[in-house]
Symmetry: D2
Subunit: 382 residues, 4 copies
């Protein structure tokens, strides 16, 4: 379905060649200052054409708020938003390629809908993510203003070049504690804030570009200052919602939180995060954070951090042997030049989806905590 969230909800529409892409954000708290400029920042960060490592098309992607605000303040009613598509001409069927593109969604969309759209797998286009980023920007603004939450994503791996994100590495946690979006964006064009790794990544992407090939990578994201108590036990654990959100981003193949896949090698006695009381704040903290900020599906107040694997872009600038729609083996010709690596552009998308998950979990928890507060006190209890 095209709706995400239970209380703070976003519904998106749009594919590559239609009139516009957009979304409706339902359930936004009223009384928050909100202007198009607040939303445009992340939209611009996700645009292609920002550097030589990304695709040369220059989409404008200017968002227009349709409803739900007045005099720059949210009303609490649904916020409609749209971004016009500049290229609105659907391809004529006769011009359409005869091949379902390998590892694209052309074939599966046809299997699902039995309609051959000119865009192939229309909604699987990166352009669809505009609605998510617009919605996520609103969630993020709330989280920051009301709770001081900070959400920062960055590229942690491209191909076989990776920063060390071992959960026992103090430098990695130091990075998670301090990294800012400014630092990420300064690492032009790979958005990897570790200088040595960034340099190698750039070289690697250039190599694949030269070879008319593509390569994937990993985006790591940290959420700082999230309140404790967020996430619903059982099916809607916070990490389950995050995994859902991240695997819904095009081209993703994996998700891990906290110690993740490397955590399987750490014995329980080291993996367990011991508690202590921070005397300054009076809050319980954990001395290590292998849990990644969630325990039993619920936030504990520590940094939430997770990583998302992106496969290499399926569109490459070289011919491919594959079958045509009528079942004959042939060669799909290459057309134009394509982005060999999209993970830098995925950074704001990951941040946006994380914002949506956290915001929805927060509002559900506020319903619970506010309802509990109205009950008469029990004898001898909190």
């Amino acid at each position: 379905m095209s709706t995400f969230g239970k209380v703070f909800r976003v519904t998106t529409y749009g594919e590559s060649h239609c009139k516009s892409v957009g979304c409706i954000v339902d359930g936004c708290p009223p009384g928050m200052q909100l202007q198009e400029a607040d939303i445009q920042v992340q939209l611009s960060r996700r645009r292609p054409g920002q550097s030589k490592l990304t695709t040369p098309r220059n989409e404008k992607d200017l968002v227009k708020i349709q409803s739900g605000t007045e005099f720059g303040v949210t009303l609490g009613t649904p916020i409609g938003m749209l971004v016009a598509n500049e290229d609105q001409r659907p391809n004529d069927y006769s011009d359409m390629t005869n091949y379902p593109r390998p590892s694209h969604a052309d074939f599966t969309y046809l299997e699902k809908y039995s309609v051959k759209a000119s865009s192939g797998g229309g909604r699987s286009s990166a352009r669809e993510t505009i609605g998510r980023v617009a919605a996520g920007s609103i969630a993020e603004k709330y989280l920051k203003e009301a709770y001081g939450v900070e959400i920062v994503a960055f590229v942690s791996a491209v191909g076989d070049v990776s920063i060390d994100r071992d959960p026992s590495n103090p430098e990695f946690h130091n990075l998670l504690n301090t990294i800012t979006r400014e630092q990420v964006d300064a690492a032009v064009p790979v958005r990897c804030p570790v200088e040595s790794a960034a340099k190698d990544m750039i070289a690697l992407v250039e190599k694949y570009k030269a070879e008319q090939d593509s390569i994937g990578g990993v985006v790591t994201c940290v959420i700082r200052n999230a309140p404790s108590g967020l996430g619903e036990p059982v099916f809607d654990k916070l990490e389950a919602e995050l995994a859902h959100a991240m695997l819904s981003i095009p081209a993703t193949k994996g998700f891990e939180i906290g110690s993740g896949f490397s955590g399987i090698k750490i014995p329980g006695s080291q993996h367990n995060d011991p508690f202590y009381k921070d005397e300054t704040t009076g809050k319980f903290r954990t001395r290590t954070n292998n849990s990644g900020g969630v325990q039993g599906g619920i936030t504990n107040g520590e940094n939430i951090y997770f990583s998302v694997a992106f496969k290499p872009p399926a569109t490459i600038s070289q011919p491919q042997e594959t079958a045509s729609y009528d079942g004959k083996d042939g060669v799909l010709a290459a057309k134009g030049r394509h982005d060999p690596n999209v993970v830098p552009r995925a950074v704001p998308i990951v941040e946006s989806m994380a914002s949506l998950v956290l915001m929805d979990a927060l509002m559900l928890q506020l319903a619970r905590s506010a309802s509990r507060e109205r009950l008469p006190k029990l004898n001898g209890s909190a």
Copy 2:
């Protein structure tokens, strides 16, 4: 929330020390043969006490169908099911430990609910998974009877012992093509069907047991014969729902589908799965399967395979330094002997959650395809 699914829906209840655990399955197709014995098989596979590598408690876990079937056939109405808890005595608060257990859910449940339950993080108990497995068994029976779907999970790693699940390894795909539950269960007690790895895993678990420690692992799962066209574009991609389902299982820290995290290192020209037409069946197939059976969030008819990372069990048989509820540093004493590795028991839980995801996606797609079939044919189209 405690409900999973949109059309085929399961809602669960229950924690460790209450009267029973159970679930309601809503939306089951009518007219399917179903008896308690169909459900008991997987419930028994998830029970502790099946071997020396697992916990010595012997739960009976006999399921009782309350409603929704008659004369051994589903009516289409909700299927209520429950399993009695043998140990129903909540602990007295005075006996309760003074420590929130590290990397358990005791602390986060208290943060969330502001009620100190005797079971600590009650719903985070493995016992909660009984409802999922009962529900998943029904979904799986339908998928098998109606579509011949086969779902088999197995242990692919424990600690640093792992089978080779590189997507370019033909033996790995051969395993995915052929593995059966009988083979998995024959690999007592680790449920790893690769003999050499299994032997090393057993040795490793014994080592951690001797050290009063614990260790995590990976469960890999394959879904064979899934129809193409399943999964909703955008937010509810099949892999997003699978990731959601898997990360909702207690103790999970990661999920990957198809090439997963290793796919980031494979250039697009190799990662793309070329199409061909299988002349025997008339179906489109892909020559490789780095996609893991999903493209653009929708199944393409190939094997769906994915892996799930489980952290080491947080309950260990050695004392731990940590803070007490009143904020003082101290030592949480060890109590009893505990299971050093739970991944073998997770196998049927992974299978069950996969069944729930696939069944729900299937019913949504049936609504779409059946509605499309009723429309008048378009000129010159399918």
Copy 3:
């Protein structure tokens, strides 16, 4: 579907001849005192066999809480509840009547599910309402303890005997302001608190009983002390949710709120409810209440009142000419003696569904108001 509510959610299961009927209540605020006795009160009020005007079967209907509470306090986790069915034997198909009973659900269930259940329209049984009443009792307890909400329903019409519920009648509003459940139950056995009408209703029911026939009626319900601001604009207006809830009760045919169908005859100048400020409480009130406590789908703090029409019971103690399952005209013989009028038993069901609607709307609004409170103040605004 068998789930009601978005944040405070109930899922029910069970039909006439299965092992038990029950429900899972998900999203209940933690920290509320709750025992089985709290729930049993309303369950007993809905039981048949309470007077000579109702059916002679004496169901025990003792509820057993399975989970979600400890030491008599809610944990915040799902509350499983069940009531055993005493008669659990499904009828053998060979004994089953050959006729789909007129105006029952036997025929439509067969059309929907293509399975002929021994109970005919199994889930359309009044027995299914046990789960709703159990869940509603919990919601109601919260609403009363936390907000002082009072919900009282009563019989306002049977056949052509009716109390005057004209919205311009001050006595009607006086009744709404003061009526208690004790007064309703004292009006044995019709639960109509207006003495003269009650007398006529009893006579009317006796007449239909003697004629082996049945008759319908109206239940009116008032909700006092509901907070203002509840109900979601557009699709989930409070009156829309109430109408949904009420029309989901078996045998209902109509719903009206405030002035209802009689409001169509009142000119706007009289129908509009003028505001005034109550100097004692400082709250805005309306001088009249034709709106029935909701304006634009949102509560305004006045009494919410509505009425629900119940058709005559379809099961009657006389033979009926109708077609058999094989399409032949024939006569469905009468069996046993049946309740000629069920509206008194519907009273606690109406109250329970009203509680569920209000509780869910309240929790959604708490999410909104609590989220708004955390935002920095706007210049020159509240």
Copy 4:
């Protein structure tokens, strides 16, 4: 919330003074011919300014499809639609009236959101219904093309002038069997197809107009050719969903289906609808239709008919005594001339909401029936 439906889903946005109003329709069957002209028909029928009995403003309300179709055919992806607002200037706060308008949503919106919007109760505006009508037009087109469903609503009462809609009146059923939209629209301007009543209604509306007052009415709707088996037992009975949908329309106060409120006076022996087999079609029919086409919440294939009560418009052309926002008694001055009766304009809105309900129920049932068909046959059963 601003979303309606489970499988065929519409989400709307927009209020009076924002840039546009619109909606996203998610879950539409692919492969259906759809153009803006298909949607414009009903949008134009709901427009004000169509006759002297309605408001003089002339909104253009031209819908623009943004996505989800290509070459005039639905893709199966979300259909974004919008209609520009011509008057987009929010009022300045200083110009804003000092009074919450009686029986409008100004007060309750302020209570709910704590933001004073220039439009008062923004989303309670009739303009919000544009999104519903656009979405309903798509649902209706499908229902007609795929199943031959016909949905026709008409005005059955204005003030105390009413047609005879007694369920035992054969002329009423004759009307339900034959009425067309053309006949309804020919009854300018009241949309009441019974000539004598229409004449009296016109006179009545003119009278209230002259008195600067307003008056309500009833819209009755019939759905012909709906398949049997639609509607979910228990909470989501078809009549419950219809009631929900209708009471979500602005200004509605009541709903009744089949015999409705008058059914309470009919003894069961007459109210029950006996079955017979129609030898021509081979289908089961009922000789009477007091049930209104639903039994146990599920359609039985007979005409579904229901009525909706609309209160008099709250905006009247005469001054009103009421309290200002600062709590002082005063007089809200009349401004301009207003529509004394809006029920004719409600006709397409009622039809649209009915379409949405039926379409969603149909798709859910298709999921069920299609899933059942894939199961192996049971011995000795259908």
